[in-house]
Subunit: 597 residues, 2 copies
Amino acid sequence: MPSYKAPVDDTLFLLNDVLNFQRFGNLPGFADVTPDVLSQILLEAGKICEEALAPLNQIGDEKGCKRHDDASVSTPPGFKEAHDAFAQGGWISLAVPEEYGGQGLPYTLSMAMNEFASSANMSFAMYPGLTQGALAALLRHGDDEQKKLYVPKMAEGRWSGTMNLTEPQCGTDLGLLTTKATPRGDGSYSITGQKIFISAGEHDLTENIVHLVLARIEGAPAGVKGISLFVVPKFLVDGDGALGPRNGVSCGSIEKKMGIHGNATCVMNYDGAQGFLVGEANRGLNAMFVMMNEARLGVAMQGLAQSEVAYQNAAQYAKERLQGRALSGPKDPGKPADPIIVHPDVRRMLLEMKAFNEAARGFALSAALDSDIAHRSDDAASRQAAEDRLGLLTPVLKGVLTDLGFENTVKAQQVLGGHGYIREWGMEQFVRDARICMIYEGANGIQALDLVGRKLPRDGGRAIMAYFKDTAELLAPFESDEAMKSFAAPVKAALDDLQKATMWLMQNAMAKPDNAGAASYDYMHLFGRVALGVMWVKIAQAAMAIKAQEPERAGLMDAKLLTARFYMERMLPETRLRLTRISTGADTMMSLPEEMF
Amino acid sequence: MPSYKAPVDDTLFLLNDVLNFQRFGNLPGFADVTPDVLSQILLEAGKICEEALAPLNQIGDEKGCKRHDDASVSTPPGFKEAHDAFAQGGWISLAVPEEYGGQGLPYTLSMAMNEFASSANMSFAMYPGLTQGALAALLRHGDDEQKKLYVPKMAEGRWSGTMNLTEPQCGTDLGLLTTKATPRGDGSYSITGQKIFISAGEHDLTENIVHLVLARIEGAPAGVKGISLFVVPKFLVDGDGALGPRNGVSCGSIEKKMGIHGNATCVMNYDGAQGFLVGEANRGLNAMFVMMNEARLGVAMQGLAQSEVAYQNAAQYAKERLQGRALSGPKDPGKPADPIIVHPDVRRMLLEMKAFNEAARGFALSAALDSDIAHRSDDAASRQAAEDRLGLLTPVLKGVLTDLGFENTVKAQQVLGGHGYIREWGMEQFVRDARICMIYEGANGIQALDLVGRKLPRDGGRAIMAYFKDTAELLAPFESDEAMKSFAAPVKAALDDLQKATMWLMQNAMAKPDNAGAASYDYMHLFGRVALGVMWVKIAQAAMAIKAQEPERAGLMDAKLLTARFYMERMLPETRLRLTRISTGADTMMSLPEEMF
C-alpha cells in the first residue's frame, strides 16, 4: 500500500517564509492565525488526512460506488465515518463566515487542506470539495433566506453540495443547454432535464444533497444569456430547515470510469423537481462561474496533490530498491546492488517532480491568498489587483498544474518499473485518478482559450501588464546580486519569451482568431513555466535569507537552492520551444481538409 | 465501442513508395511478394484484426483472465477462437522458415501485422507475439533437435512461447538472478525458482506452453556471466513431439494490473521442472537478447499501434461532436454548433498524433527491413550496415515510440472530454494498455542508457557515424531543391543538434559517466525527433514524386506534405530544448543528498 505524509513543513515554509502570510494580518480571519496557530491547524489537517483518509484510498478504488435499484448510491466502506470525522473536525466550514456557523478562517488554509486531502484520497476529498464550491456560490449569489437555510447545514457537513452543468449534448458549450425551468406560480420552478457527469450527485454521506443546477426558464433567450441557476435540494426543506418530502430528482445511473472510483459520477434525472432561483434570472452562468473558479483552483490542487503523493512513493522506492550499480562505481559494495536513486536518470525523474511540487504549491497558495485579498480586503485597489491576478492565473494554474501533475504520476509510476503497473502498489491509481483533472471543470484546452481569448484582453490587458511589471520589479534588484543572479537571469529570459509570445498574439490574433487558438495551449504552458520560475526565485530568496540566519535549517535550504537550480537548467528552457511553436501560427493546421484526418 | 480500421493504404504507401520494398527482391522470401501479393497480404491482415480481434478488445479488458484453483488460467471469452483463427490464417508463422512449417515471408510483413493486431487488441496480440519472440530465439540458438521439436508446433500456433527473466529481486539487473538449474545427469536440468511478470505464462489458448527461462547452473559465476537459457515446456514432450506428463512449472497467481487485462501476467513457480539448455552454458543472456531485441521492436509497434487506434477514434469524434463555434465564425450555421474539429487546438492534438503515427510507422518498418537484411542478405557489408543501424535504432524505437505513443493515447482521450474518461467509450483503455509499453522489455530509461552507454560507443562509434553520414547524404541534394528545402533544412538543423549532443557526450561522459546517465533520456528523445524528421523528409520526397505522376493521389499527397510541415514547425524544434538540457550535465542532480528526496 502506498504511504502519504502531508507536506506540513513545506507548506509552512511557503506560507511563512516565502509568501509572508503574517503580513495579511489586517484581513478578516487572518489576525488569529499566528504562526503557532497556523502550524497547529496544518498539523491537524495533515493528521486526519494521513490517518483517516489515506487508508481508504485503495479500498475506494477497488470497491467503488454502487447504485441500488431504488436509485440510492452507496459509497465505499469507511467513507461515511471519514466524512463525519472530516465534518466534525470543522474542515468543511474552515473558511465559511462565522455568522453561518463557519470558522471564518482564510480560504488559503482551506486550499492547503485541500491539497493534503486530495493526496490522501482524491475521490473522498471531492465530496466536501463540491460542498465548499456550492457554499461559495450560495454565499455570493443566494438571497438571505437561502443562505440561512442551506449554508449552516452544509458548513456542518450534514448536507452536501453538487454542481449540475453538463448534459449529453452540452459540455463545453453551455449555450446548448436544454434543461427546462417552468414557473410554478409560487416563486419556485419545476426543473426537468437530464444532467450527466455529476460528481457526488447521489451518495450516502449526508442527510441531504443540495444541487445547484443550470436550467433555462421557459421563454428565456437562446444561448448562454438565457441560463439561470437554481438550487434543488434532494429532500425539500421547510422554513426551519427540517427535511420534507423527496424532490423529483434522482440518480439514473453511475458511470464506470478510469479512476476516482470512490466518487459517484451520476447521471441525474430532473423530473419536475422543485427548484429555487439563485441570483437573477438569465444570469446563472455568472453565478456558476463563482463556483467554477473556486473549483478550478481546487482541481489545480488535485493535480499537485496527486503529483506529491506519487512523488513521495517513488522517492521511497528509489531509496529502497536495490538494482544495478552506480555508473561511477558501487555506492554500497556490501549489498548485492545499489539503491536505484544512485542513477542520474532516476534522480532526473524525481527532481522533475520535486521541482514542480514545491513551486506549484507556492504558486497555488499564492493564488489562494489573492482570493482572500480579493474577497476580504477593505482596500479597493488591493482587491482589484488581486482579482486581476487571480483571474489571469486561474486558467494557468488549472491547466498547467493538472497537466504536469498527471505527467508526474506517470513518471513516478515509471520509477517503480513493472511494480508501478501492478494495482497493489497503488501507483497506477494515482495516474488514473489524476487523469480526470485535465478534463473536468473545463478541459485544459478550454483553460488555454480562456487565458488567451478572455483573460489577456480583458480591461485592455490590465492584468497581464501588471503581471509583467510586478515580475520585472521582482527580478530587477537581482541583476546585480551575485548569489541570486543565477536564478533571476533565466527567469528574466523566460519572461522575455512570454512577453514576445504576448506581443505575437496581439499582432496576429486580432485579424485571425485561429492564430490565438493555435497558440493557446503553448502559451498557457509557457506562462506556467514562467510562473513556476518566479516562485523558485522567491523560494531561493527566502532560502538564502534563512541560511544566513538559521544554520540549523541550512541543509534544507541548500536542497531548495539545488532544486531551484535544477528547475532553471532543465525545466525553464521549455519557454523558448513554446515561443517557437506559437510563432508558427495556425495556417498549417487549418489547411488540412477535414476528411484527411 | 471504439472502432478500428487497419491503415493498409498507409502501410502500402510506406513500403512501396517510401521504403522501396521491391528493391529487396534479392532477399530470400521477398521475391514472391509482388506489389499485388503485398497488398493482398496486408488486406487480409487488416481484415482479421478488424473483424476478429477488435471486437474482443473491450471484453478482454472487462473480463480479464482468471486463475482457477488448479492453477489453470482462462483467457477472456472469444480469445481461444480468435487464437485458432489467427494461427490457422498463418499469421504466427509468416516469417518462420519454410523448413519448419512457416511461410518464409519477410519479417517486415510480420511487423506490419503486429501493428494491426496490437491496435485491434493488444492483450490478445501479445500471445502470438511472445510465441514469435520465442521462435526467434529457438531458431537462432536452439540445436537442430530443439528446432525440430518445438518450432513447427509453435509456428502452427498449437504451442505458444514465453520469456522468463524477471524475479522479485531482479528486474533490470539480471545479474541478481537466483533461479537455479541443477544437472540431472541425463543432459537436462532441474529448474527451481520463481519468475514474476510473465506475460502469457499460463492460459488456455494452446496445447502446450514453451517457456524460455533464464537460470543459473549450479557453480556458475555470479553476475550476468553465469546465466544460461533453458527451454522448459509446460508438458514434457517425447521425441515425436507427443505430449507427455505435466512438468514442474505452474502459475502461482496472476497480477491485477492497470491494463492489458486480457493477457495473463503470471507469477511462475519452477519446482524442479525439467529444462533443456539452449545454446551454450553461461551464455544465456546473449541468446535471450535475440528475443529481447525482437520484442523491443514489437513493443515499439505496440506504442504506435495504441496511438493509431486512439487517433482514429479521436478524429472520428472530433468530426461528429457538435459543440461551440469556429473562432472565425460559424462553419455550419444550420446546425446547433460546429463539429469540434474546427478548433485549432483540437487540430493541434490530432495533428501531433497523425504526424507521429505516419512517420513512426515508416521508421518501424524501415527497422524491420533492416532486420530482414541483417538476417537474410548474402552481402556481408549490407548485413553489417543493417545490423549496425538496427542495433543503434532499436532503443530509440522502443523508447520514443512507446513514450509518444502513450502520450498520444492521453491526447486522444482528451479530445473526447468527459467521455474520454468513461469506460464504455474505450479511450481510457488505450491509455491503460499503452502505459505498459514504456515499462516492459526494458523500461525506457534503460533503453536510453543502452543507447548512450552501449550502442553509441560500440565499434568505435561506427553505427552512429554511419547514421550521420547517411542522413547528411540524404539531405544534401535538397539544399538546392526549392520544394524540398523547407523539409530538409529543419531536419538538417535538428541533425546538427544531435551531432552536438553526441560530441558533448564524447567530451563529458568518459571522465564522468554520470553525465551520460543524466543526458541519456533527452538524447534518446532528441534522436527520436531527428529520426522521425528524416522519415518525414523521405515521405515528402515520395509524395512530391507521386503528385507529379498520379494526379488522382494528389489530395492524399498534399495531406502528407501538410503533415510533414506541421512536424517541422511544431514537433521537430524540440531537439534544441533537448540539447540545452543535455548540456547542463549531471552535477546539479547528483548533488542533492539522498535524504532530501
